[in-house]
Symmetry: C2
Subunit: 275 residues, 2 copies
């Protein structure tokens, strides 16, 4: 496949511009918090979640501009979760994507509050979606996906297992929640703002489940961790490939407008390490 | 005035029951995060913000049950802010209201994530308000009040001034944001769910500004800090009394249904230390 940045050039430009505009228009006193928020958001990340939102919206017949608010909101939530995950009390990471982590750059207090600010801002941005019924459905689905029964549950379980032996069922739980729930919410958010039909939503849910898990399985292959601890590597590769095939097949049923959903699955496939 | 608990017995019972129901119905795996969230919420706090929501709703002709969702959401946001404020990187408090703080009881990682969970849950609860237009207005106003241009800005400024000399203008900024914005949002939330008229909203805003600042001035008198550093104590007492008189006068204009708003101002007055 073509390079990720080339494939999603239009999506990426819209996402970067909108995130910049939203963050800069809210900057103010005290400077440190807004600098820390911007530092955390602009780290050269893949923007996988917001691209999923835009691609799912297109796949269901919507326009990108209808999806840009939830796309940005989901990226802010993802970013806040990384800022808090990197803290000394959690993963204690000093470097992310080759740069100092937020707390290393701005101090722990500012990083904690910058994370809080990004999470809160995500909901402010969602409140701008029209009509109100759609906005409130997004607030509900995304808050549940990101909350203590979703992403946060996965993070807590992940931390707790650091001190005991991980089993496969627990790893499944962590994947389904820590990364799976927000990826699923991203795909659904795109479909919802496009006004997807119940039939389209069923397909979108199946795509989201497959891609959400594939994302994690490929990460495990790259890190030689997680699923690689419980099964031989070639079985993990098979698992990833099967999930990606499922995602592409389901996307195919959504028609030609789902081209970018197929490309995102291709991108995951291209990351599978070759023997 | 009568004892606070007696005055607001009906309000407090509704708030406690609803918070308990909302938190328990969401409990699940892993246990630690849900225990930490519940521990943080049930600490015997005054529930000043949710009572303000209910009282402002009544003052504008609404029913308490229309206001209970935003009331709980605002208490969850207040609670999350205390959990994060108490962390070692911020105020480093081991005890709050005579009990171990959340991170002392559950560890720092769980406390950070419990705070995140409470903030996220607040927006989930707001998404249940009907009609959707009202819910989305609450999400917008409350996210702005709690965000990096509101409560969080006050917290960051407060932390930053710990290392330099505080001046009166900065203390004003901290008060207006750290406590003022969420108190203001509480009063407005109650008025909004009651379907307040523009005229009622003007009065409610004036009440909220006076009470929000009075709350902080009285706290400063009790702690012998803040405003007491910049003016003689009798002038600080005068400032508090004047704000409370303003609040009562404005509440009076809302009519007899604003009785509880007057009682809340009375409560603040009763806390002013006597010479």
């Amino acid at each position: 496949m073509a390079d990720y940045g080339t494939c999603f050039k239009v999506h990426l430009r819209l996402i970067e511009q909108t995130l910049k505009k939203e963050l800069q228009s809210r900057a103010g006193r005290p400077k440190a918090i807004h600098q820390a928020m911007q530092y955390a958001v602009f780290t050269g990340g893949k923007r996988f979640r917001p691209i999923l939102v835009l691609a799912a919206c297109e796949a269901c017949g919507g326009r990108m501009k209808d999806a840009i608010r939830p796309a940005c909101a989901l990226e802010l939530i993802h970013t806040y979760s990384l800022v808090h995950d990197d803290l000394p009390a959690l993963d204690n990471d000093a470097v992310r994507r080759g740069r100092l982590t937020c707390h290393k750059k701005f101090g722990e207090a500012t990083a904690i509050l910058a994370g809080d600010g990004l999470l809160t801002m995500a909901f402010e941005i969602l409140s701008g979606v029209q009509p109100a019924e759609r906005a409130i459905r997004l607030v509900r689905e995304i808050s549940i996906a990101a909350g203590a029964r979703g992403m946060i549950a996965g993070q807590v379980e992940d931390i707790e297992t650091a001190s005991r032996r991980l089993d496969l069922a627990t790893h499944d739980f962590i994947c389904a929640n820590k990364t799976g729930k927000l990826i699923h919410a991203s795909v659904r958010a795109g479909a919802l703002v496009a006004g997807a039909s119940p039939k389209q939503l069923v397909l979108v849910d199946r795509y989201a489940r497959a891609v959400g898990l594939a994302f994690q399985v490929v990460d495990d292959l790259l890190d030689q961790d997680g699923y690689c601890r419980f099964m031989p590597e070639d079985r993990v590769v098979q698992k990833a490939e099967k999930l990606i095939q499922t995602a592409k097949k389901v996307a195919g049923k959504l028609g030609t407008r789902a081209r970018c959903l197929v490309l995102l699955a291709d991108f995951l496939e291209s990351r599978i390490p070759q023997k």
